[in-house]
C-alpha cells in the first residue's frame, strides 16, 4: 500500500526565513503520526502545504496519492482538517455547520441526513444539534469540528493541536474520539501537539521538528530511549530540540501568534 502522506525535500521559505527545510517523510496508511516540536519549528507550515493552503517553495509532496501542486482539488476531497483555530461557524447551529460541509463535499443527498445524524451521535452532540455553536463549550466545539472534518470520510485527517485550551476531561474525551475514528474507519491521522503525554497516548510514530528540519523519527518508546535510560517523551523533546527557548528563528512564537493561540484557548476554555 502506498504511503498516505509522502514528502520529498518539501521546503517553504518566508523571505529570509526557511520555515520548512527539505522535509522528507512518509506516513503510512492507517497510521497516527505526531509532528512535534517547539513553536516555529515548522509544524503548522508543513500541514498548510500538505492541505494545499500554502504553496511550497521547493520539493514535492503527495497526500492520498495526489500531488499537492498538480491535483489540489483531489487532495482536498481526500482530506479532513481541524485547524488550531476555531473552524466551526459560531453563528450557525451544529447541524447547519455539518450540512454546509455535506453540501460542499457533494455527499449523495440521500446519505446526508443519515451521516449527519451518525456524526452527531458518535460525537455525543445529538441533544445540542440545533443550538448555535457559539453557545457550546470548548470540548463540544472540538468534537463538532472533528465530526465536520470526518463527515466525508476522508482518507487522511490533519489535526493541528486538537486539544489546545481544553480541560483534562475534555481532552480525554477528544482522545477517545480520535482513537475511535481510527479504529472504526482506519483513517490516517497526522496531528501536531505541544503535549507529549498526548503524543505518547495517541501516536504510533512521532517526528521531532526543529528549525524547519526533521531531527528525529520513531515510536515514542524508541525516541524516549534515545534520550537516555528511564526518560520519557518530554525528555526526548528537550533532547532533540534543544531548550526550545532560543530567541532566533522562532517565527511562530511571535506576538501575533501568541495572541492568537491565547485567544483560541480563551474561547475554547
Amino acid at each position: 500500500m502506498p504511503p498516505a502522506i509522502s514528502t520529498h525535500e518539501l521546503t517553504r521559505r518566508f523571505d529570509a526565513l526557511t520555515a520548512v527545510d527539505a522535509l522528507t517523510l512518509d506516513v503510512q496508511t492507517g497510521e497516527v503520526f505526531g509532528l512535534l516540536g517547539p513553536n516555529g519549528a515548522g509544524k503548522t507550515t508543513t500541514i498548510k502545504m500538505l492541505i494545499t493552503l500554502l504553496p511550497p517553495s521547493g520539493g514535492t509532496a503527495s497526500v492520498a496519492g495526489h500531488d499537492i501542486r498538480r491535483e489540489p482539488r483531489l487532495v482536498r476531497r481526500s482530506i479532513g482538517y481541524v485547524p488550531q483555530l476555531l473552524s466551526s461557524d459560531g453563528a450557525l447551529s451544529a447541524r447547519e455547520n455539518l450540512m454546509t460541509s455535506a453540501r460542499l463535499y457533494h455527499l449523495p443527498g440521500a446519505d446526508r441526513r443519515a451521516r449527519i445524524g451518525e456524526a452527531l451521535e458518535f460525537m455525543g452532540l445529538e441533544s445540542s444539534a440545533d443550538r448555535l455553536v457559539r453557545t457550546f463549550s470548548g470540548g463540544m466545539i472540538r468534537r463538532l469540528e472533528i465530526a465536520q472534518a470526518m463527515l466525508h470520510r476522508p482518507e487522511v485527517l490533519f489535526l493541528d493541536e486538537p486539544t489546545v485550551g481544553l480541560d483534562p476531561t475534555a481532552r480525554r474525551a477528544v482522545w477517545g474520539h480520535i482513537r475511535g475514528l481510527r479504529q472504526a474507519e482506519g483513517t490516517t491521522i497526522l496531528l501536531t501537539t505541544h503535549y507529549m503525554d498526548e503524543a505518547a497516548e495517541l501516536c504510533g510514530r512521532v517526528g521531532f521538528m526543529h528549525l524547519g528540519k526533521l531531527v528525529a523519527l520513531g515510536t515514542p518508546a524508541e525516541l524516549s530511549a534515545q534520550a537516555g535510560p528511564g526518560k520519557n517523551l518530554d525528555d526526548a523533546f528537550s533532547y532533540f530540540t534543544g531548550s526550545g527557548l532560543s530567541e532566533a528563528g522562532e517565527q511562530g512564537g511571535q506576538y501575533r501568534d501568541v495572541a492568537r493561540t491565547r485567544r483560541t484557548a480563551r474561547r475554547l476554555g
Partner: protein
Amino acid sequence: MTSLERVERPAVWAEPPAPVRFILDSWTIAEGELRKLRHDPTELLTRAVQPLLWLLVFGQVMAQTRAIPTGSLGYIDFLAPGILAQSALFSAIFFGIAVIWERDLGVLHKYLVSPASRSALVTGKALAGGLRSLVQATMVYALALVMGVHLRLDPLSLVGVCLVVVIGSAAFATFSLVIACLVRTRERFMGIGQVLTMPLFFASSAVYPISIMPDWLQVIAHVNPLTYQVDALRGLMIQGSVESFPLALDFAVLMASTVILIVIAARLYPRLAQ
C-alpha cells in the same frame, strides 16, 4: 487494531459536473450567510436606520432650499433612489471585515480546504452581500411610501429594482472582499473602508445630478459603478424620472464590475489563509 466495523469509504463518490458544482457551492455559501442573518438580524436592522435619517433629515432640508436642480422631479423623489443605493453601498463596503474575522477565527481555512472552487466561495459571498441589501431596500420603500415619494409599484419595476440592488451590492461586497485580502487586518480595513465610501458616494449622482459637478468630478462619476446603479434605480423606482444612460448600459456596467471583481477576489482569497 481491533477493527469494530470497517466502514466502506466512498473514495470516489459521484460528483456533479463542474459548472453545476459552481452554482451549488455558491448557493451553499450564500445560504449559510443568510441563515446567520436570520439567527441574528440586529446588525442589518441597525444599518437600516441610517437611510431613514438621510431621507427624513437631509432630504427634507434640501427639498426646502430648492438648491439642487433636479428638473421636473421633486428633490425627495430624486433623492430616494440615491439613498437606497447609498445604504446598500455602506453596508456592502464593510463586508470584508466579516471575512477578515473569519480568517482570524479559522472558519476561512475550513472553506479553503473543501473541494469548492475559490470562485464559487467568492461568488457565494458576493451573492449573500447582494441579497442582504434587499432588507434595506424594503425599509427605504416603506419610508418612501409614507413620505409620498412617487414610486413605481408595478411588478416589473419592482423586480428590476431588486435585481439592480442585488447586483450592485454584490459588486461592492466583492470590492470590499478584495480590499480585505489586500490589507489583511481589521484595524487597517476600518480606516480604508471609511476613506473609500465617501468618494464613491459623493462622486456619484446619489444626492445631486452629475451635471452640477465640476468637470474633474464628472469624469470620476462616469467610471463609478454607483452612478450607474443610482441611474438604473432612479429610472425603475420613480414615476416620470428620466435616466441619463440606457438601462441596458447600467446593467452591463454593474454585471461587468461584479464579474471582474469576483475574478480578482478569487485569486486573492486564498492568500488570506497563508
